[in-house]
Amino acid sequence: MSETVTHYWRLNLFHRFIHVLVMVSFAGAALSGMALKFTTAAWARLAMQLMGGVPGAALLHRVCAMVIAFYGFLHFIYIVYDIARHKGSIFRGSSMLPRPQDIVDLWQHLMYFLGRRPRPQFDRFTYWEKFDYFAVFWGVLMIGLSGLVLWFPEIATQFLPGVAINIAQIMHSDEALLAVGFIFVVHMFNTHMRAEKFPVDMSIFTGKVSEDELKKEHALEWERMQEDPALMEEARVK
Protein backbone atom coordinates (compact mmCIF):
# COMPACT_ATOMS: atom_id res chain seq x y z
CA MET A 1 0.00 0.00 0.00
CA SER A 2 1.15 3.47 -0.86
CA GLU A 3 2.49 5.66 1.95
CA THR A 4 0.53 8.68 0.81
CA VAL A 5 -2.93 7.15 1.31
CA THR A 6 -4.40 8.17 4.65
CA HIS A 7 -6.49 5.57 6.47
CA TYR A 8 -9.11 6.08 9.16
CA TRP A 9 -10.29 3.79 11.95
CA ARG A 10 -13.80 2.52 11.30
CA LEU A 11 -13.97 -0.47 13.63
CA ASN A 12 -12.23 -0.84 16.96
CA LEU A 13 -10.63 -4.02 18.25
CA PHE A 14 -13.79 -4.98 20.17
CA HIS A 15 -15.96 -4.69 17.04
CA ARG A 16 -13.57 -6.86 15.05
CA PHE A 17 -13.25 -9.44 17.83
CA ILE A 18 -17.03 -9.74 18.13
CA HIS A 19 -17.34 -10.10 14.36
CA VAL A 20 -14.87 -13.01 14.34
CA LEU A 21 -16.93 -14.70 17.07
CA VAL A 22 -20.15 -14.07 15.09
CA MET A 23 -18.57 -15.41 11.91
CA VAL A 24 -17.09 -18.59 13.36
CA SER A 25 -20.07 -19.49 15.56
CA PHE A 26 -22.53 -18.78 12.74
CA ALA A 27 -20.64 -21.02 10.31
CA GLY A 28 -20.50 -23.88 12.83
CA ALA A 29 -24.11 -23.57 13.95
CA ALA A 30 -25.35 -23.21 10.37
CA LEU A 31 -23.45 -26.23 9.08
CA SER A 32 -24.51 -28.54 11.90
CA GLY A 33 -28.07 -27.20 11.89
CA MET A 34 -28.61 -27.34 8.14
CA ALA A 35 -27.24 -30.89 8.06
CA LEU A 36 -30.03 -31.82 10.48
CA LYS A 37 -32.67 -29.81 8.61
CA PHE A 38 -31.93 -31.49 5.27
CA THR A 39 -31.18 -35.05 6.41
CA THR A 40 -32.59 -36.61 3.24
CA ALA A 41 -29.96 -34.86 1.08
CA ALA A 42 -26.65 -36.57 0.35
CA TRP A 43 -24.53 -33.53 1.28
CA ALA A 44 -26.20 -33.38 4.72
CA ARG A 45 -25.32 -37.00 5.47
CA LEU A 46 -21.74 -36.42 4.35
CA ALA A 47 -21.50 -33.27 6.49
CA MET A 48 -22.92 -35.20 9.45
CA GLN A 49 -20.30 -37.91 9.06
CA LEU A 50 -17.53 -35.31 8.87
CA MET A 51 -18.78 -33.71 12.10
CA GLY A 52 -18.65 -37.06 13.87
CA GLY A 53 -22.25 -38.17 13.40
CA VAL A 54 -25.27 -36.96 15.32
CA PRO A 55 -23.48 -36.60 18.71
CA GLY A 56 -20.58 -34.68 17.14
CA ALA A 57 -22.84 -32.32 15.23
CA ALA A 58 -24.97 -31.77 18.34
CA LEU A 59 -21.85 -30.89 20.36
CA LEU A 60 -20.61 -28.48 17.65
CA HIS A 61 -24.05 -26.86 17.44
CA ARG A 62 -24.23 -26.35 21.20
CA VAL A 63 -20.67 -25.06 21.54
CA CYS A 64 -21.48 -22.50 18.81
CA ALA A 65 -24.72 -21.66 20.64
CA MET A 66 -22.70 -20.92 23.77
CA VAL A 67 -20.29 -18.71 21.80
CA ILE A 68 -23.34 -16.83 20.44
CA ALA A 69 -24.75 -16.39 23.95
CA PHE A 70 -21.29 -15.21 25.06
CA TYR A 71 -20.93 -12.53 22.38
CA GLY A 72 -24.56 -11.50 22.93
CA PHE A 73 -23.69 -10.89 26.57
CA LEU A 74 -20.45 -9.04 25.70
CA HIS A 75 -22.31 -6.91 23.19
CA PHE A 76 -24.95 -6.02 25.77
CA ILE A 77 -22.21 -4.78 28.12
CA TYR A 78 -20.66 -2.82 25.24
CA ILE A 79 -23.98 -1.11 24.48
CA VAL A 80 -24.24 0.03 28.10
CA TYR A 81 -20.63 1.28 27.98
CA ASP A 82 -21.25 3.02 24.66
CA ILE A 83 -24.34 4.83 25.95
CA ALA A 84 -22.44 5.92 29.05
CA ARG A 85 -19.49 7.10 26.94
CA HIS A 86 -21.69 9.27 24.75
CA LYS A 87 -23.59 10.57 27.78
CA GLY A 88 -26.88 8.96 26.81
CA SER A 89 -27.08 10.29 23.27
CA ILE A 90 -27.53 7.22 21.14
CA PHE A 91 -29.57 9.11 18.53
CA ARG A 92 -26.52 10.86 17.06
CA GLY A 93 -25.88 10.68 13.30
CA SER A 94 -23.20 8.05 13.63
CA SER A 95 -25.52 5.81 15.62
CA MET A 96 -26.50 2.30 14.58
CA LEU A 97 -30.13 3.04 15.46
CA PRO A 98 -32.58 3.20 12.54
CA ARG A 99 -34.09 6.58 11.73
CA PRO A 100 -36.52 7.93 9.08
CA GLN A 101 -33.58 8.98 6.86
CA ASP A 102 -32.79 5.27 6.34
CA ILE A 103 -36.10 4.76 4.51
CA VAL A 104 -35.31 7.78 2.32
CA ASP A 105 -31.80 6.38 1.70
CA LEU A 106 -33.23 2.98 0.71
CA TRP A 107 -35.66 4.57 -1.73
CA GLN A 108 -32.99 6.83 -3.23
CA HIS A 109 -30.55 3.95 -3.48
CA LEU A 110 -33.14 1.86 -5.37
CA MET A 111 -33.76 4.80 -7.69
CA TYR A 112 -29.99 5.00 -8.22
CA PHE A 113 -29.92 1.29 -9.17
CA LEU A 114 -32.54 2.06 -11.81
CA GLY A 115 -30.51 5.01 -13.09
CA ARG A 116 -33.09 7.61 -12.03
CA ARG A 117 -30.86 9.67 -9.71
CA PRO A 118 -27.26 9.96 -8.47
CA ARG A 119 -25.97 7.77 -5.69
CA PRO A 120 -27.27 8.93 -2.27
CA GLN A 121 -24.75 9.94 0.43
CA PHE A 122 -24.54 7.81 3.55
CA ASP A 123 -23.56 8.46 7.14
CA ARG A 124 -21.33 6.27 9.29
CA PHE A 125 -23.72 3.31 9.03
CA THR A 126 -25.80 2.76 5.91
CA TYR A 127 -29.34 1.35 6.01
CA TRP A 128 -28.19 -2.10 4.82
CA GLU A 129 -25.50 -2.22 7.49
CA LYS A 130 -28.11 -1.34 10.10
CA PHE A 131 -30.39 -4.05 8.71
CA ASP A 132 -27.53 -6.59 8.93
CA TYR A 133 -26.93 -5.58 12.52
CA PHE A 134 -30.57 -5.79 13.61
CA ALA A 135 -31.03 -9.02 11.64
CA VAL A 136 -28.38 -10.59 13.88
CA PHE A 137 -30.04 -9.02 16.92
CA TRP A 138 -33.46 -10.43 15.92
CA GLY A 139 -31.98 -13.73 14.82
CA VAL A 140 -30.01 -14.32 18.01
CA LEU A 141 -33.12 -13.59 20.09
CA MET A 142 -35.55 -15.71 18.03
CA ILE A 143 -33.19 -18.60 17.29
CA GLY A 144 -31.58 -18.40 20.72
CA LEU A 145 -34.81 -18.49 22.71
CA SER A 146 -36.38 -21.24 20.59
CA GLY A 147 -33.05 -23.10 20.72
CA LEU A 148 -33.13 -23.05 24.53
CA VAL A 149 -36.59 -24.68 24.44
CA LEU A 150 -35.23 -27.39 22.11
CA TRP A 151 -32.06 -27.88 24.16
CA PHE A 152 -33.91 -28.15 27.50
CA PRO A 153 -37.44 -29.37 26.66
CA GLU A 154 -37.91 -30.86 30.13
CA ILE A 155 -37.25 -27.51 31.81
CA ALA A 156 -39.14 -25.47 29.21
CA THR A 157 -42.31 -27.56 29.56
CA GLN A 158 -42.37 -26.93 33.29
CA PHE A 159 -43.90 -23.56 32.45
CA LEU A 160 -44.85 -23.91 28.77
CA PRO A 161 -47.34 -26.26 27.07
CA GLY A 162 -45.86 -29.13 25.06
CA VAL A 163 -46.90 -27.62 21.74
CA ALA A 164 -44.34 -24.85 22.47
CA ILE A 165 -41.66 -27.38 21.44
CA ASN A 166 -43.36 -27.75 18.05
CA ILE A 167 -43.53 -23.97 17.69
CA ALA A 168 -39.88 -23.65 18.75
CA GLN A 169 -38.89 -26.17 16.07
CA ILE A 170 -40.65 -24.18 13.35
CA MET A 171 -39.18 -20.89 14.60
CA HIS A 172 -35.66 -22.22 15.00
CA SER A 173 -35.54 -23.95 11.65
CA ASP A 174 -37.25 -21.27 9.50
CA GLU A 175 -35.36 -18.37 11.07
CA ALA A 176 -32.10 -20.25 10.58
CA LEU A 177 -32.85 -20.80 6.90
CA LEU A 178 -33.60 -17.08 6.58
CA ALA A 179 -30.31 -16.25 8.31
CA VAL A 180 -28.27 -18.60 6.10
CA GLY A 181 -30.02 -17.40 2.93
CA PHE A 182 -29.40 -13.80 3.96
CA ILE A 183 -25.82 -13.94 5.27
CA PHE A 184 -24.29 -16.11 2.54
CA VAL A 185 -25.93 -14.18 -0.30
CA VAL A 186 -27.03 -10.66 0.66
CA HIS A 187 -24.45 -9.84 3.34
CA MET A 188 -21.56 -11.42 1.39
CA PHE A 189 -22.52 -9.56 -1.77
CA ASN A 190 -23.15 -6.20 -0.14
CA THR A 191 -19.78 -6.24 1.59
CA HIS A 192 -17.46 -8.04 -0.85
CA MET A 193 -19.00 -8.82 -4.21
CA ARG A 194 -20.25 -5.50 -5.49
CA ALA A 195 -18.20 -3.81 -8.16
CA GLU A 196 -16.59 -1.20 -5.87
CA LYS A 197 -15.46 -3.78 -3.29
CA PHE A 198 -14.70 -6.93 -5.27
CA PRO A 199 -13.02 -9.22 -4.44
CA VAL A 200 -12.86 -8.47 -0.73
CA ASP A 201 -13.37 -5.65 1.74
CA MET A 202 -10.81 -6.23 4.48
CA SER A 203 -11.98 -3.44 6.79
CA ILE A 204 -13.87 -5.85 9.10
CA PHE A 205 -10.52 -7.51 9.89
CA THR A 206 -8.15 -4.49 9.74
CA GLY A 207 -10.62 -1.99 11.13
CA LYS A 208 -9.38 0.65 8.67
CA VAL A 209 -10.81 2.37 5.61
CA SER A 210 -8.95 4.57 3.14
CA GLU A 211 -9.73 8.27 2.80
CA ASP A 212 -11.16 7.69 -0.68
CA GLU A 213 -13.46 4.98 0.54
CA LEU A 214 -14.62 7.05 3.48
CA LYS A 215 -15.41 10.01 1.22
CA LYS A 216 -17.32 7.84 -1.23
CA GLU A 217 -19.09 5.38 1.03
CA HIS A 218 -19.73 7.49 4.12
CA ALA A 219 -19.76 11.05 2.80
CA LEU A 220 -21.86 12.48 5.62
CA GLU A 221 -19.48 11.13 8.23
CA TRP A 222 -16.53 12.56 6.30
CA GLU A 223 -18.23 15.98 6.30
CA ARG A 224 -18.80 15.78 10.03
CA MET A 225 -15.12 14.92 10.52
CA GLN A 226 -14.13 17.92 8.38
CA GLU A 227 -15.99 20.20 10.78
CA ASP A 228 -14.42 18.65 13.85
CA PRO A 229 -10.60 18.38 13.61
CA ALA A 230 -10.41 16.58 16.97
CA LEU A 231 -12.67 13.81 15.65
CA MET A 232 -10.58 13.66 12.49
CA GLU A 233 -7.33 13.37 14.42
CA GLU A 234 -8.77 10.69 16.67
CA ALA A 235 -9.93 8.59 13.72
CA ARG A 236 -6.78 8.96 11.59
CA VAL A 237 -4.51 5.93 11.48
CA LYS A 238 -1.03 7.07 12.51
Binding site: F38, A41, R45, V54, G162, I167, F184, F189, H192, M193
Partner: protein, 279 residues
Protein backbone atom coordinates in the same frame (compact mmCIF):
# COMPACT_ATOMS: atom_id res chain seq x y z
CA UNK B 1 -2.79 -7.26 -1.55
CA UNK B 2 -2.35 -10.17 -3.92
CA UNK B 3 -5.45 -9.67 -5.98
CA UNK B 4 -5.33 -12.76 -8.23
CA UNK B 5 -5.12 -15.13 -5.23
CA UNK B 6 -8.02 -13.39 -3.57
CA UNK B 7 -10.07 -13.50 -6.75
CA UNK B 8 -9.48 -17.23 -6.96
CA UNK B 9 -10.34 -17.83 -3.30
CA UNK B 10 -13.54 -15.85 -3.58
CA UNK B 11 -14.56 -17.44 -6.83
CA UNK B 12 -14.09 -20.89 -5.31
CA UNK B 13 -16.02 -19.80 -2.21
CA UNK B 14 -18.89 -18.54 -4.36
CA UNK B 15 -18.95 -21.76 -6.39
CA UNK B 16 -19.04 -23.81 -3.17
CA UNK B 17 -21.87 -21.73 -1.71
CA UNK B 18 -23.80 -21.96 -5.00
CA UNK B 19 -23.27 -25.73 -5.12
CA UNK B 20 -24.51 -26.12 -1.55
CA UNK B 21 -27.60 -24.08 -2.35
CA UNK B 22 -28.32 -26.13 -5.46
CA UNK B 23 -27.90 -29.32 -3.45
CA UNK B 24 -30.22 -27.94 -0.79
CA UNK B 25 -32.98 -27.51 -3.33
CA UNK B 26 -32.62 -31.20 -4.11
CA UNK B 27 -33.39 -32.08 -0.52
CA UNK B 28 -36.44 -34.18 0.16
CA UNK B 29 -35.41 -36.73 -2.42
CA UNK B 30 -34.43 -39.75 -0.37
CA UNK B 31 -31.33 -41.59 -1.44
CA UNK B 32 -32.41 -44.83 -3.06
CA UNK B 33 -30.83 -48.12 -2.12
CA UNK B 34 -31.99 -48.38 1.48
CA UNK B 35 -32.74 -52.07 2.00
CA UNK B 36 -36.40 -52.90 2.02
CA UNK B 37 -37.79 -55.10 4.78
CA UNK B 38 -41.20 -55.77 3.30
CA UNK B 39 -42.20 -59.24 4.39
CA UNK B 40 -43.46 -61.51 1.67
CA UNK B 41 -47.07 -61.32 2.72
CA UNK B 42 -49.48 -64.05 1.81
CA UNK B 43 -47.22 -66.35 -0.20
CA UNK B 44 -47.67 -70.12 0.18
CA UNK B 45 -44.28 -70.82 -1.30
CA UNK B 46 -41.34 -71.47 1.03
CA UNK B 47 -37.72 -71.34 -0.11
CA UNK B 48 -36.15 -74.05 2.00
CA UNK B 49 -32.58 -72.82 1.57
CA UNK B 50 -33.46 -69.32 2.78
CA UNK B 51 -35.64 -70.83 5.50
CA UNK B 52 -32.68 -72.76 6.83
CA UNK B 53 -30.59 -69.56 7.02
CA UNK B 54 -33.23 -67.72 9.04
CA UNK B 55 -33.67 -67.72 12.83
CA UNK B 56 -36.20 -70.58 12.66
CA UNK B 57 -34.04 -72.55 10.21
CA UNK B 58 -33.65 -76.24 11.03
CA UNK B 59 -36.94 -76.40 12.95
CA UNK B 60 -39.35 -79.01 11.73
CA UNK B 61 -42.31 -77.60 9.76
CA UNK B 62 -44.82 -79.46 11.90
CA UNK B 63 -43.60 -77.65 15.05
CA UNK B 64 -45.53 -74.61 13.85
CA UNK B 65 -47.90 -76.12 11.29
CA UNK B 66 -49.55 -78.34 13.89
CA UNK B 67 -52.78 -78.69 11.93
CA UNK B 68 -51.05 -80.25 8.94
CA UNK B 69 -50.65 -84.01 8.75
CA UNK B 70 -47.22 -84.69 7.17
CA UNK B 71 -48.47 -87.99 5.78
CA UNK B 72 -51.26 -86.41 3.82
CA UNK B 73 -50.94 -83.35 1.59
CA UNK B 74 -53.61 -80.78 2.47
CA UNK B 75 -56.15 -79.89 -0.19
CA UNK B 76 -55.57 -76.74 -2.16
CA UNK B 77 -58.92 -74.98 -1.64
CA UNK B 78 -57.32 -72.16 0.40
CA UNK B 79 -54.52 -71.33 -2.05
CA UNK B 80 -56.32 -68.23 -3.34
CA UNK B 81 -56.19 -66.71 0.16
CA UNK B 82 -53.25 -65.20 2.02
CA UNK B 83 -51.20 -67.74 3.92
CA UNK B 84 -50.16 -64.99 6.34
CA UNK B 85 -53.81 -64.27 7.21
CA UNK B 86 -54.83 -67.92 7.47
CA UNK B 87 -52.09 -69.19 9.76
CA UNK B 88 -53.12 -69.76 13.35
CA UNK B 89 -50.53 -67.83 15.37
CA UNK B 90 -51.37 -69.62 18.58
CA UNK B 91 -48.56 -71.92 17.51
CA UNK B 92 -46.10 -69.09 18.22
CA UNK B 93 -47.16 -69.08 21.88
CA UNK B 94 -45.53 -72.42 22.60
CA UNK B 95 -42.06 -70.83 22.25
CA UNK B 96 -42.90 -67.11 22.67
CA UNK B 97 -45.55 -67.07 25.44
CA UNK B 98 -44.64 -63.62 26.76
CA UNK B 99 -44.83 -61.96 23.34
CA UNK B 100 -48.11 -63.77 22.67
CA UNK B 101 -49.57 -62.54 25.96
CA UNK B 102 -48.35 -58.96 25.44
CA UNK B 103 -49.80 -58.90 21.95
CA UNK B 104 -53.25 -59.61 23.39
CA UNK B 105 -52.96 -56.62 25.71
CA UNK B 106 -52.22 -54.28 22.79
CA UNK B 107 -54.47 -52.24 20.54
CA UNK B 108 -53.93 -54.46 17.48
CA UNK B 109 -55.51 -57.40 19.36
CA UNK B 110 -58.33 -55.16 20.58
CA UNK B 111 -59.12 -54.16 17.01
CA UNK B 112 -59.16 -57.80 15.95
CA UNK B 113 -61.51 -58.78 18.76
CA UNK B 114 -63.76 -55.82 17.98
CA UNK B 115 -63.48 -54.05 21.36
CA UNK B 116 -61.83 -51.06 19.63
CA UNK B 117 -62.95 -49.58 16.33
CA UNK B 118 -60.20 -48.74 13.83
CA UNK B 119 -60.34 -46.12 11.08
CA UNK B 120 -57.75 -48.03 9.08
CA UNK B 121 -58.98 -50.14 6.18
CA UNK B 122 -56.54 -53.00 6.69
CA UNK B 123 -57.18 -55.79 9.19
CA UNK B 124 -55.06 -55.43 12.33
CA UNK B 125 -51.72 -57.24 12.06
CA UNK B 126 -50.83 -60.43 13.91
CA UNK B 127 -47.39 -62.00 14.40
CA UNK B 128 -46.72 -62.86 10.76
CA UNK B 129 -47.54 -59.42 9.42
CA UNK B 130 -44.48 -57.93 11.13
CA UNK B 131 -42.23 -60.97 11.62
CA UNK B 132 -41.52 -63.00 8.53
CA UNK B 133 -41.78 -66.53 10.03
CA UNK B 134 -39.73 -68.33 7.41
CA UNK B 135 -36.86 -66.01 6.56
CA UNK B 136 -36.43 -63.75 9.58
CA UNK B 137 -32.78 -62.94 10.28
CA UNK B 138 -31.29 -61.54 13.44
CA UNK B 139 -31.41 -57.81 12.79
CA UNK B 140 -29.27 -54.98 14.12
CA UNK B 141 -30.94 -52.10 15.93
CA UNK B 142 -30.76 -49.92 12.81
CA UNK B 143 -32.22 -52.69 10.65
CA UNK B 144 -35.08 -53.08 13.14
CA UNK B 145 -35.74 -49.32 12.89
CA UNK B 146 -35.78 -49.53 9.09
CA UNK B 147 -38.09 -52.56 9.26
CA UNK B 148 -40.50 -50.62 11.48
CA UNK B 149 -40.53 -47.71 9.04
CA UNK B 150 -41.45 -50.09 6.22
CA UNK B 151 -43.92 -52.30 8.07
CA UNK B 152 -45.71 -49.84 10.41
CA UNK B 153 -45.77 -47.26 7.62
CA UNK B 154 -47.83 -49.52 5.37
CA UNK B 155 -50.93 -49.07 7.53
CA UNK B 156 -49.94 -45.77 9.22
CA UNK B 157 -48.56 -43.64 6.34
CA UNK B 158 -49.30 -40.22 7.86
CA UNK B 159 -47.67 -41.24 11.17
CA UNK B 160 -44.65 -42.43 9.21
CA UNK B 161 -44.44 -39.17 7.29
CA UNK B 162 -44.63 -37.02 10.43
CA UNK B 163 -42.15 -39.29 12.24
CA UNK B 164 -39.65 -38.86 9.42
CA UNK B 165 -40.06 -35.08 9.69
CA UNK B 166 -39.50 -35.24 13.45
CA UNK B 167 -35.98 -35.13 14.88
CA UNK B 168 -36.40 -38.68 16.24
CA UNK B 169 -37.13 -40.00 12.74
CA UNK B 170 -34.58 -37.78 10.98
CA UNK B 171 -31.74 -38.96 13.21
CA UNK B 172 -32.77 -42.62 13.51
CA UNK B 173 -33.75 -43.27 9.89
CA UNK B 174 -31.86 -40.71 7.78
CA UNK B 175 -28.69 -40.41 9.87
CA UNK B 176 -28.50 -43.99 11.22
CA UNK B 177 -28.37 -42.79 14.82
CA UNK B 178 -29.29 -45.90 16.79
CA UNK B 179 -29.88 -44.05 20.10
CA UNK B 180 -32.90 -42.25 18.69
CA UNK B 181 -36.45 -43.49 19.24
CA UNK B 182 -38.31 -45.63 16.70
CA UNK B 183 -42.01 -46.56 16.42
CA UNK B 184 -41.83 -49.47 18.87
CA UNK B 185 -39.68 -47.59 21.40
CA UNK B 186 -42.69 -45.39 22.18
CA UNK B 187 -45.70 -47.45 21.06
CA UNK B 188 -44.41 -50.86 22.09
CA UNK B 189 -43.76 -53.78 19.80
CA UNK B 190 -46.07 -56.53 21.05
CA UNK B 191 -48.27 -54.64 23.44
CA UNK B 192 -48.89 -51.85 20.93
CA UNK B 193 -50.52 -48.77 22.45
CA UNK B 194 -51.87 -45.59 20.86
CA UNK B 195 -50.48 -43.30 23.64
CA UNK B 196 -53.58 -41.10 23.66
CA UNK B 197 -53.58 -40.96 27.46
CA UNK B 198 -51.12 -38.36 28.81
CA UNK B 199 -50.29 -40.32 31.97
CA UNK B 200 -49.21 -43.31 29.84
CA UNK B 201 -47.40 -41.15 27.30
CA UNK B 202 -45.28 -39.40 29.95
CA UNK B 203 -43.98 -42.77 31.14
CA UNK B 204 -42.83 -43.46 27.59
CA UNK B 205 -41.08 -40.07 27.24
CA UNK B 206 -39.29 -40.70 30.54
CA UNK B 207 -37.58 -43.77 29.11
CA UNK B 208 -35.13 -41.37 27.42
CA UNK B 209 -36.03 -38.03 29.05
CA UNK B 210 -36.14 -38.87 32.78
CA UNK B 211 -37.18 -35.34 33.75
CA UNK B 212 -40.09 -35.18 31.28
CA UNK B 213 -43.03 -33.24 32.67
CA UNK B 214 -46.75 -33.85 32.18
CA UNK B 215 -46.73 -30.84 29.83
CA UNK B 216 -44.06 -32.36 27.62
CA UNK B 217 -46.60 -34.94 26.46
CA UNK B 218 -48.34 -32.09 24.63
CA UNK B 219 -45.41 -31.98 22.22
CA UNK B 220 -46.66 -33.47 18.95
CA UNK B 221 -44.24 -36.04 17.54
CA UNK B 222 -46.71 -36.67 14.72
CA UNK B 223 -47.34 -32.95 14.15
CA UNK B 224 -49.41 -32.00 11.17
CA UNK B 225 -49.33 -28.39 10.09
CA UNK B 226 -52.66 -28.24 8.35
CA UNK B 227 -55.85 -26.22 8.24
CA UNK B 228 -57.95 -29.33 7.66
CA UNK B 229 -59.33 -30.38 11.05
CA UNK B 230 -60.14 -33.94 9.99
CA UNK B 231 -56.47 -34.82 9.37
CA UNK B 232 -56.02 -35.62 13.06
CA UNK B 233 -59.16 -34.72 14.96
CA UNK B 234 -57.59 -35.11 18.40
CA UNK B 235 -55.04 -32.35 17.68
CA UNK B 236 -57.10 -30.12 15.35
CA UNK B 237 -56.44 -26.94 17.37
CA UNK B 238 -52.70 -27.53 17.59
CA UNK B 239 -52.58 -28.32 13.87
CA UNK B 240 -54.20 -25.00 12.97
CA UNK B 241 -51.91 -23.15 15.40
CA UNK B 242 -48.80 -24.77 13.92
CA UNK B 243 -50.05 -24.03 10.41
CA UNK B 244 -50.41 -20.33 11.26
CA UNK B 245 -46.96 -20.18 12.92
CA UNK B 246 -45.42 -21.92 9.90
CA UNK B 247 -47.25 -19.54 7.54
CA UNK B 248 -45.96 -16.49 9.44
CA UNK B 249 -42.34 -17.61 9.24
CA UNK B 250 -42.55 -18.70 5.62
CA UNK B 251 -44.04 -15.33 4.61
CA UNK B 252 -41.36 -13.52 6.65
CA UNK B 253 -38.51 -15.57 5.19
CA UNK B 254 -39.72 -15.37 1.60
CA UNK B 255 -40.47 -11.64 1.70
CA UNK B 256 -37.17 -10.63 3.34
CA UNK B 257 -35.11 -12.81 1.00
CA UNK B 258 -37.09 -11.80 -2.12
CA UNK B 259 -36.68 -8.10 -1.32
CA UNK B 260 -32.96 -8.25 -0.54
CA UNK B 261 -32.10 -10.65 -3.38
CA UNK B 262 -33.79 -8.18 -5.75
CA UNK B 263 -31.98 -5.26 -4.06
CA UNK B 264 -28.64 -7.06 -4.40
CA UNK B 265 -29.28 -8.06 -8.02
CA UNK B 266 -30.10 -4.49 -9.07
CA UNK B 267 -26.99 -3.27 -7.24
CA UNK B 268 -24.87 -5.80 -9.12
CA UNK B 269 -26.23 -4.57 -12.44
CA UNK B 270 -25.72 -0.91 -11.55
CA UNK B 271 -22.18 -1.57 -10.32
CA UNK B 272 -21.20 -3.45 -13.48
CA UNK B 273 -22.81 -0.78 -15.64
CA UNK B 274 -20.79 2.00 -14.01
CA UNK B 275 -17.56 0.02 -14.02
CA UNK B 276 -17.84 -0.81 -17.73
CA UNK B 277 -18.84 2.74 -18.68
CA UNK B 278 -15.75 4.14 -16.99
CA UNK B 279 -13.43 2.04 -19.18
Amino acid sequence: MKRPALVWCLTIAVVIVAAVMVLMTRCGQPISGRPSHEPEFGSWYVEVQRYNQGVHGGMDCSLCHTDIDPEEHPDSENLSESATDLFDYEACASCHPQEYEHYHLGVHAEVLSGTVQSEIDYPAPTCGHCHDPHYRQVLSRLQVIDAQVDICGQCHPSELETYLENYHGKTAVDLDYADSASCADCHGSHQVVALDQPEKAVQVCRKCHPDATENMVGYLIHAEETLSPDADASHARESVLLFLVQLFFVVLTVSVLAFFYGHTFLWLLRGLHEKLRRR
